[in-house]
């Protein structure tokens, strides 16, 4: 619960001076993601930079230091019947806010509530010249200057040390119901896309193991009326399924196998994959557990209008979708603009950056 930004800044300045790359670490809950980097690098531990700086329930805004555990934030919000609407996965109790933004982690409601980047309003960041900067703001709208705050989502700390994040907060829905149907993957895909095209309080849709799960959230009357109209089986213990999906604790997720994540067109078919996958985010995200060639997976993803990454396990040498060459050059230039000496998390996202 303290502000150690000056110490962090001093460590960064030292690293620049000694040309000594750093591995940025918060709670360590997402160290399995991205590429494996040189274990001998010095660690910059942000977890001590913790605590909620400002929380105004009526403004729907919360600002916290990057090392603040997600649990602490979620508990504070729950006291006011509010939530992080992007439903971040934790993967461990130590998960922090900064790491969640850096890894762009959002849960089952993402297509309807938005992702963490959609809820970020502003950040503070120590860049690769050792300067502690502030971007965005603590207001709902801000279009002054380039959007450096949202740029961080998915950068995995390669552009600097996120020290503080301001977020948009939303009220918890008053009622929630989960409906289920026994369906094939192909039928479920069709149904998910059809339901998502109606103006109903849909907030999650996932197919796993022959069953489609659909979550409704909102005003009690709206949830009840839609549940009656859609005629699915109501699932008891609704919280558990979505939590297990979010945390990858459903039995589908086998830690001994490589796990692929597709981010694609919600209606696209992935032949030979769909039947053996989890179809989440109303079709926009597919999880596939199993051994495969990355090149082949990438071709499938491109055909389906999107991208693939090796989320966990397998060969951690090359895990992200390979961008087209002009985009690669651009990302290198942007990296350089933040981190000219290349000291932040080298090789964490791509080998070449």
């Amino acid at each position: 619960m303290s502000d150690i930004s000056l110490e962090l800044q001093a460590q960064v300045t030292n690293a620049i001076k000694n040309n000594q790359p750093l591995t940025i670490k918060g709670g360590g809950s997402k160290s399995f993601m991205g590429r494996e980097t040189d274990k001998s690098l010095q660690i910059l531990d942000v977890s001590g930079h913790s605590g909620i700086v400002n929380y105004e329930p009526v403004e729907l805004i919360l600002t916290a230091r990057a090392g603040t555990p997600l649990i602490e934030i979620e508990n504070a919000l729950a006291e006011n019947n509010q939530m992080l609407a992007f439903e971040p996965p934790h993967f461990s109790n130590s998960a922090t806010l900064g790491g969640t933004l850096a890894c762009n982690q959002s849960g089952p409601g993402r297509p309807w509530y938005g992702s963490i980047r959609d809820h970020v309003l502003g950040i503070r960041l120590i860049n690769g010249t050792g300067k502690h900067l502030r971007f965005g703001g603590q207001v709902m709208k801000n279009v002054a200057g380039y959007d450096v705050s949202r740029l961080q989502a998915g950068a995995m700390g390669t552009l600097g040390v996120i020290t503080e994040v301001s977020l948009k907060i939303l009220p918890k829905p008053k009622a929630q119901v989960t409906l289920t149907w026994e369906l094939s993957a192909a039928d479920a895909l069709q149904k998910m896309n059809r339901l998502a095209g109606t103006s109903k309080p849909l907030t999650a849709a996932c197919w796993v193991n022959g069953r489609l799960y659909v979550r409704l959230s909102g005003a009690q009357s709206a949830v009840d009326a839609t549940a009656t109209q859609w005629k699915g089986n109501e699932l008891e213990q609704i919280g558990d399924f979505w939590m297990q999906l979010r945390e990858h604790s459903l039995s589908y997720f086998d830690p001994s196998l490589p796990l692929w994540r597709f981010s694609i067109n919600s209606a696209a078919k992935l032949n030979h994959i769909d039947d053996h996958s989890i179809i989440d985010w109303g079709g926009s995200q597919r999880w596939f557990s199993g051994h495969a060639e990355k090149k082949e997976m990438q071709q499938l993803a491109i055909k389906a209008g999107g991208q693939v990454s090796l989320f966990s396990g397998g060969d951690r040498e090359d895990v992200m979708h390979e961008p087209q060459s002009a985009l690669k050059a651009l990302q290198k230039n942007i990296k350089k603009s933040f981190d000219p000496a290349g000291i932040f998390n080298p090789g964490r996202v791509y080998k070449w950056m």
């Binding site: 207001v139 909102g218 005003a219």
Partner: protein, 494 residues
Amino acid sequence: MTNTAPLKDELSCLFREFIHSEYVIDDDETLKPYECDGLSMYTQLPMLVVLPETVEQVQKVLKICHEKQVPVVARGAGTGLAAGAMPHAEGVVLSLAKFNNILSIDPINRSARLQPGVRNLAISEAAKMYGLYYGPDPSSQIACTIGGNVAENSGGVHCLKYGLTVHNLLSVDLLTVEGERITIGSDGLDSCGMDLLALITGSEGLLGIVIEVQVKLLPIPETARVVMAGFGNVQQCGEAVSGIIAKGIIPGGLEMMDSYAISASEDYAKAGYPLDAAALLLCEVDGTKEEVQAHIEEVQGLFKSFGATSIRTSQSEEERALLWFGRKAAFPAVGRISPDYYCMDGTIPRSQLAYVLTEMQKMSERYDLKIANVFHAGDGNLHPLILFDANVPGEFEKAEAFGGEILELCVAVGGCITGEHGVGIEKIRQMIVQFSDEELAQFHAIKDAFDPQGTLNPGKGVPTLKRCQEYRVLQSAKERSLGSINESGAHNHV
């Protein structure tokens, strides 16, 4: 001033080799309509205007301009309010007006592929047959284009619930300064690595040229209703806004107007606004029939408990449209009672609303210029309209200074200088109030990563560090003089 005539002739010839002769504009009379955008007080005749019709033509224009280091200013419908599309005297205006086709609508995946010159409203009109629409709805939506919306990260009255442009994009095809085409984003929701789509959105034409946009479409809500409430004072009105949020309701739209804006609008739109109210709220609730019914009752009860002097709820689509018409007509309505007006765009934490309105009233007296306020109350985005007469010498300068002071006040209470209009040239001086030199240096480094020669929309968005020094000197001089005015109590002349 450099003599641009030889370069102008050379470029016209070059461009006419691959662009229809009529669409390369080089005579002053035809160039004239391009001299400004929606902020008509800032004008500059460009060297040339081109209106290419194919992507390849745009690429060639960019390539030539890049080689010759000629500034390029992209332009959509020219409705921007921050002079972001104001031409460069020695540059080319790249109009994307010919790119006005909707390339495809995917009703299953709920998305649309668009050329950059497609009008914002045209997207929703085309999607309507599938029961879908495009979320962001800036006031200029009849005319403004999606390319410009991406460049400015445009908002509208439904931002609190449905987000800004950045929240409603899937992918953008960008031409780099060299003319190379890159696709940022995909049909999927997330991409690997840093979020370039967010960086591009709102970059005001400084990083690349938007040549194709894929947007998300939303299902049209089953129903929507508006509750209008009048309040005896601004404080109560502000508390009512907080009250709604505290109840856990996120309205589709939540708009506030002050008494001067109410009377101007009512005069013009005859929507039945309460003329005795000091402040008015329009709260739109949308969703399923059941949800809207439940929330409407809660909102009405809440407004009563916060002391509303009048409450009216729309009973039909016509009535809902009429109540909104008054709000949407606020700008032209003010235009009727004043020869000119200047629209500002600051954001503030909602809790500061009453304080900021009181301070603006004091400024209004000090500058001797009237002010009308419309406000996206849900998300803290102020649009003060400063009334002035451009034919009175010095009055625009006075309005400009007044506006600048409002933006500085927004920053002082924890807000920012622009919520949805962008910086352009208009707010470039205020960038130093919101950002330190070190932060601005990071912006310049990003610009260099895309456009090292600085030929894309130069002079907009981010002030050069040299200019920053000058602005900061002026700023501190101004603060000193304001301080002395306040001390002496004189406040009629600035």
